[in-house]
C-alpha cells in the first residue's frame, strides 16, 4: 500500500532532458459519493539536488494511483527525492539518482 514508484534514466549528460515518471499506489478517496471516509494525498513534490523542481497539489479530480510524468534538465550530482504528503500529514518518500557525466 502507498508504494511510490519512480522511473529515471540511469545516466544523463549535464543539461540533457530526462523524463521522470512517478506513480504512487493510493485510492485517493474523496469521501464525496462513496461510503468510505476521505483518504487523499495533498501534495507531490520532486527535488533535484535539494531544490524543488516540480510539485503538484492534488484535488478531488485527481485520479486514484496518481501518475505524473514531467521533464527535467539534468544537473550534477543528480540526486532526486520524491515526496507525497497525505492530507493527514503522513509522508511517503522515495529517492533516485541519475549519474551525470
Amino acid at each position: 500500500m502507498f508504494t511510490p514508484r519512480v522511473r529515471l534514466p540511469r545516466t544523463a549528460t549535464a543539461g540533457e532532458e530526462i523524463e521522470v515518471r512517478t506513480l504512487i499506489n493510493h485510492p485517493m478517496i474523496t469521501g464525496v459519493s462513496g461510503p468510505d471516509p476521505r483518504d487523499m494525498l495533498a501534495r507531490f513534490e520532486a527535488t533535484m539536488n535539494g531544490e524543488t523542481v516540480f510539485a503538484c497539489d492534488f484535488a478531488n479530480g485527481s485520479a486514484a494511483n496518481p501518475t505524473i510524468i514531467f521533464y527535467v534538465r539534468a544537473a550534477a550530482p543528480g540526486a532526486f527525492t520524491f515526496t507525497w504528503t497525505h492530507e493527514d500529514g503522513r509522508q511517503f518518500q522515495t529517492e533516485g539518482t541519475v549519474d551525470i557525466s
Binding site: T30, T52, C56, A59, N60, G61, A64, T67, I68, F70
Partner: protein, 153 residues
Amino acid sequence: MQRRHFLASTAGAACLALVPFAAGAEQAGIDALPDDVAEARAAILDGRVPQEGGIEIDAPSLAENGAQVPVTLRVDSPMTAADHVIAIHILATRNPAPGIGHFHLTPHLTRAEVFTRLRLAEEQSFLVLAELSDGRVRQAAARVMVTQGGCRT
C-alpha cells in the same frame, strides 16, 4: 449499425485524439460556468484576463472510464529563468468539486509538459489555466465524453 457505431467510437478512444481547443472556450462549453467553477477560476486569475491558446491538450474525446482519463498538457514556453510557466491548473466543470490538480513548474524543467490522469464524473469540458512568469495567464479547454462516471469514491 449501432454496433458499428460503437466499435468506431471505441476505436477512437483507444488512441489519444488531439482535441482541437483553439476554436475557443465557448465551443467547449465554458461560457456558462457553474458558480463553484467560476469562483475557482477567478481565484487563479486574480483579476487577470486569460489569453486563449498556447496550450495543447492531448485527451481522449471519449473515455470508457471516467475514473482514469489520461491527459497530456503542453504549454508553449521556452522554460528559461526569465520566461517560464509557473503553474498549470486543471478545473472540471461538471464534477462535484472543480479542482483536479495544480502543478507547480520551475525553470529546471525542459518543457512545460505534464502527463496525469483525471477523474471526470460525467461528460464535460475541463479548463486548463497556465500562469506564466511574467504574470500572463493562458486558458484552454477540452471536452471528454465519459462512458462510465469516475465518481464512485
